[in-house]
């Protein structure tokens, strides 16, 4: 069964979001990495890029297929995880930790409140 940490927010497209002040850290969920398996490549947005919630801003590739990653919240890309680009397997081994994708400086601080709660996400994936 997939791990759904209680301190995160979630999206229907299987990203997780950790909000600290006005900064959101984003990755893909344990459930998503389990579905993808064997992540072999991660493409991240340019630092400084303005993103809108729901916009495609990264790509994760498994052996089988390429999947788009969506910005869960709007804002400016503050930092990207170089370690996961170098070692994409981190997405499989530490989806909620070392396998994070990027950080967004929120332009609409109220936005995260509209994301899925852990219980809602658990229900979505049939936990």
């Amino acid at each position: 069964m997939s791990n759904v940490p209680s301190d995160l927010k979630y999206t229907k497209s299987h990203e997780w979001v950790r909000v600290t002040g006005d900064i959101a850290t984003v990755g893909i969920t344990d459930h998503a990495q389990h579905e993808l398996t064997d992540v072999v490549f991660v493409e991240l947005p340019a630092v400084g890029r303005q993103v809108k919630a729901g916009e495609t801003c990264a790509v994760v590739e498994s052996v089988k297929t390429a999947s788009d990653i969506y910005a869960p919240v709007s804002g400016t890309v503050l930092e990207v995880n170089a370690a996961v680009v170098d070692n994409p397997a981190l997405v499989n081994t530490e989806p909620h930790g070392g396998g994070w994708f990027f950080q967004i400086k929120l332009s609409q601080p109220a936005e995260p409140a509209g994301l899925l709660t852990p219980a809602e996400y658990q229900a979505l994936i049939g936990g």
Partner: protein, 371 residues
């Protein structure tokens, strides 16, 4: 459209297989991970459900002549119990399907055809047949598994004991040579076992009545477990065959692509007399083709190449990727694609356009993976 399910559907569910649509069938793409299953086949053994594939029996005094007129390879070269890779072409030399044909005896042949092409092939064969052969599509009654990998030979005889009662005359399955087929008795029914596969590893393909295939699958799983046998899905089947540069119908081959362009001219016997598509294929073999299938490896860190990505050279789009993936054996992106012949030589540098960015690649000799 309702997806068809193989008789092993319940077995896949029990094993936690992830099911996807393939050629109108609901098939397992993977059980644990494509990489794990791929490496199990390269290093030990893997078992695949290939029940979706079609089986057509062609028999009668005129069967040999009929097949030689309809297929590109020469079936006269086959002794009883021997098989060959071959293609079925249209008048323009385009490929209707690629298949395996086995000679069971003087007058009976078994054709193993692609799942996606059953509905095209059977009418094609029936139309080409002017009454000299009997064409019997048994795809609905028969199911099949492929068991592949270097360890398979260690346990195949334990799983399916006994000597052949038809086809190649062998005392046990492991005595079959590459491309040979024998008829064996398993649990009171006849099963066809060929020493063939689609992975580049040693192995066997076993065709059995649909109602018996789960018993075959279970017997193989049980006998192979101590040797590291794993169930493997279509994902691993695709990465394994891509590393070997084996064509997949709908990717490397289609109705407007010829066997010469696809680099499988070796299986076109121009010297055997006339057959459908011969004129075009003979001309292409002599004069060359406008496009050629090449194998390539990515040379830098990049996303894996995927089907339909453009291939570029000197700022021009020169072709298209038809198969592409991350190679689990090599740990880098590999693919197959069509390019003009002047770019088909090994060591030619090309670029693959991946989401608008160019990634460098190099044309390599086939197969991409060499043991």
């Amino acid at each position: 459209m309702t997806l068809k399910r193989t008789p092993l559907y319940a077995a896949h569910q029990k094993l936690g297989g992830k099911l996807i649509e393939f050629g109108g069938w609901e098939m397992p793409v993977q059980y644990t991970s494509i990489t794990d299953e791929h490496l199990a086949v390269r290093q030990a053994a893997g078992i695949f459900d290939i029940s979706h594939m079609g089986e057509v029996f062609v028999g009668g005094a005129g069967a040999e002549e009929f097949l030689n007129r309809t297929l590109t390879n020469d079936v006269r070269k086959l002794t009883p119990g021997q098989g060959q890779y071959t293609l079925m072409c249209n008048e323009r030399g385009g490929v209707v399907d690629d298949l395996y044909v086995y000679r069971m005896n003087a007058t009976d042949f078994l054709l193993i055809i692609n799942a996606s092409q059953i509905d095209a092939d059977v009418p094609w064969l029936e139309k080409a047949n002017s009454g000299q052969a009997e064409v019997r599509d048994m795809s609905g009654q028969l199911a099949a598994v492929a068991i592949q990998g270097p360890a398979v030979v260690k346990f195949i005889d334990a799983a399916l004991p006994g000597s052949a009662c038809g086809g190649a005359e062998v005392q046990k399955i492991s005595e079959l040579k590459k491309n040979q087929i024998g008829i064996f008795i398993f649990d009171y029914v006849t099963v066809y076992v060929g020493r063939t596969g689609y992975t580049g590893e040693d192995g066997f393909e076993i065709i059995a009545p649909a109602e018996k295939i789960e018993a075959v699958w279970n017997a193989l799983l049980k006998a192979g477990q101590p040797c590291g046998l794993k169930p493997a899905g279509l994902g691993a089947r695709d990465t394994l065959r891509t590393e070997m540069c084996y064509p997949l119908y709908g990717h490397e081959l289609d109705e407007v692509t010829t066997p010469i362009e696809a680099g499988v001219g070796f299986f076109v016997a121009l010297d055997k007399g006339d057959f459908t598509g011969r004129a075009v294929l003979a001309e292409q073999k002599a004069a060359g083709t406008k496009k050629k299938l090449v194998a390539f490896k990515m040379t830098g860190k990049s996303a894996p190449p995927r089907p339909h990505y453009p291939i570029q050279s000197n700022g021009q789009v020169v072709g298209q990727v038809v198969s592409g993936t991350q190679s689990p054996s090599l740990g880098l992106g590999i693919g197959l694609g069509y390019v003009p012949p002047e770019l088909a030589r090994p060591d030619t540098l090309i670029e693959i356009e991946i989401r608008g960015k160019l990634a460098p690649a190099i044309v390599v000799t086939k197969p991409i993976y060499k043991r």
